[in-house]
């Protein structure tokens, strides 16, 4: 497979929750693709549908949620795959790590046993070989003293260590795609950087594609190649990480970038914030969902739903009626100093 052809391609992904006879849409048609060795960041505030999107990729949505559209993993349409067919792909071709390393590991099984399990559910190898591979994985995710850790239980490990174990487990069968759902949110800042650097290195070594779900734009600047910004279940802007930070077009993206704490901006300066909050599922307004919080919204914004349109030279796309007005030359570009 060439480096450019996407290993994961999502088209018009829609997710809705059943509520009695009715359905309540949470994600309204998201599309993106990730190539081998590439990191795509999906960014947005809590409740924008980014984690739901991640869960839908592996078929892990809760029972009352339904996904439609198309998800292609390598050469398979995987959306809606059931039972054994989906199980064979999970962990083998597409793996996931979660936000909470504290609870994501089984407390009554040793770390080694949990990694061995991930190997042996997919590859027909002997127990001894699986153990050897699991030990090598622990070393590969830079866990010191892997032999000792192998027989320890999750509660004996720190949060960062557990997330490394989760990564080792995810990499057990060399998946084509790694979905990382807020992998560092529950960790200390110093540990965050280590974990993301580790994921970066492993991605370069293995050529896997990474889908990084985060609300932290600071991480995106350093660790993502491309970015998809979501708001209220829709993509509002997408493009390369560099261009997004250099010239954010959507007012929401600008807000997110402005709301980022920055070193050297002076301790007395208040952090900028986006007023208001993400609308709840039942209360998404007509027109642009961001309009009630948008400083630039005009009357048409409250009536017409903006669609993604090409903006800029490369693959940048933005869903805003007014982005051309806002993107005046006098706008000072936001520096990439995160």
């Amino acid at each position: 497979m060439s480096a450019d052809s996407p290993v994961l391609q999502v088209e018009d992904l829609r997710i809705a929750f059943r509520e009695g006879a009715a359905e309540r849409a949470a994600v309204h048609g998201i599309g993106f693709s990730v190539a081998a060795g590439e990191t795509l960041a999906i960014v947005g505030e809590s409740g924008c549908g980014k984690s739901l999107t991640a869960f839908a990729l592996l078929g892990l949505l809760p029972g009352n949620a339904r996904a439609r559209g198309r998800v292609r993993l390598e050469d398979h349409d995987i959306l809606g795959l059931q039972g054994e067919a989906m199980r064979r792909l999970r962990g083998a071709r597409i793996a996931m790590i979660f936000q909470e390393p504290m609870t994501a590991l089984n407390p009554v099984l040793t770390v080694g046993a949990q990694i061995v399990e991930a190997i042996r559910e997919h590859d027909a190898v002997s127990a001894a070989e699986a153990r050897a591979r699991a030990g090598a994985l622990l070393a590969r995710v830079r866990i010191p003293d892997p032999e000792r850790r192998f027989v320890e239980y999750p509660h004996q490990l720190s949060g960062g260590m557990r997330q490394r174990v989760m990564i080792a487990m995810a990499l057990a069968c060399s998946p084509a795609v790694l979905v990382a759902d807020e992998p560092t949110t529950a960790l200390d800042v110093t540990v965050q950087a280590e974990i993301l650097d580790l994921i970066d290195d492993l991605r370069r070594e293995t050529g896997m594609a990474v889908v990084l779900i985060t609300h932290d734009l600071g991480l995106v600047a350093e660790h993502a190649d491309r970015v998809l910004v979501m708001y209220a279940g829709r993509a509002v802007e997408t493009g390369s990480a560099a261009s997004l930070f250099a010239t954010p077009r959507h007012p929401y993206t600008r807000g997110l970038i402005a709301a980022r704490p920055r070193i050297g901006s002076g301790a007395r300066q208040r952090l900028a914030e986006i007023p208001g909050q993400v609308p709840s599922l039942g209360a998404v307004p007509r027109g642009c969902a961001f309009a009630p919080r948008c400083p630039a919204a005009g009357a048409p914004c409250r009536e017409t739903l903006p669609l993604l349109e090409a903006a800029g030279a490369a693959a940048e796309r933005v869903a805003c009626l007014r982005w051309k007005d806002l993107h005046a030359p006098e706008q000072s570009p936001v520096s990439l100093d995160a």
Partner: protein, 328 residues
Amino acid sequence: MQMRVGGPLAAIRRFGQMVAVVVGIAVINFFLLHLAPGDAAQVLAGEAGSATPEYIAALRAQFGLDQPLAVQFAKYLANVLTFDLGFSFRQGLPVSQLILDRLGPTLVLMGVSITFAVLVGGTLGFVAARHAGQPLDTAISVLALLFYATPVFWIGVMLIVVFSVWLDWLPVGGMAEIGTGLTGLAHLVDVARHLALPALTLSLYYLAIYTRLTRAAMLEAYGQDYVRTAVAKGVRPRRIAYRHVLRNALLPVVTQLGLQLGAILGGAVLVETVFAWPGLGRLAFEALFQRDLNLLLGILLCSSVVVVLANLAVDLLYAVLDPRTARA
């Protein structure tokens, strides 16, 4: 009730706690039983039919019942601490001998009942949880509710009526056929036939509890993050159920087991009486009606030791099942 395994110091402390608990129970039992009106002398005299006050007084002097309560207590405590359980004036035998004769049958009845309840209840709960919301789950839940709500003695009597009287498959009571002199395997089969109904009677209530508990614990475990992780790494559903869900669901079941061992010993009183099972429960029942306080105190002390030891076993089991409680 978690213990820290590891180190002789912890073991010694644990042993000290157990002794303190048993002695505490003995002291409470002593005063509790002396609060009840009547004594062995009264009962004996009443049965003799010639109860003059002099006769009763003589009996009391003989049994040491005329001493002040404090003196009786001191004697009792001194005896307990030297493992002397005293003499049953009523039965004319040492209490320890009476208890030893009856302890075995009770432990057999308890052991078989609780094992059956945990295994069958656990299995039913497991099956119900894996089919949650489906007809099979409903059927199991209704059955469990039925067992849970039906009085133990009624189940016992009904089982006797159906299996012993109508069908004549199993004996009505006792522990073995008298006078057959069976040995070896034949004796074992005979005891098992006698054991079936009382064990079933005693276990049904607990079986219902373990069914419901296992089901609930499984469903809760199914909602945990580590189950989602297991699904995400492609573990087969059956393996998830056994290795991830059941393994964690066992923890509350074992906790409950520890709490209920005392209760099941209490339940044995009723069942042993209904089925004429020659166990401690029936002995306690008789001792109570005969105001045979020495014997009753001995049985209660012995029961408390059994429960304390059983709790120790459960704690050790817990440490094996849940590595978080086994701090080295």
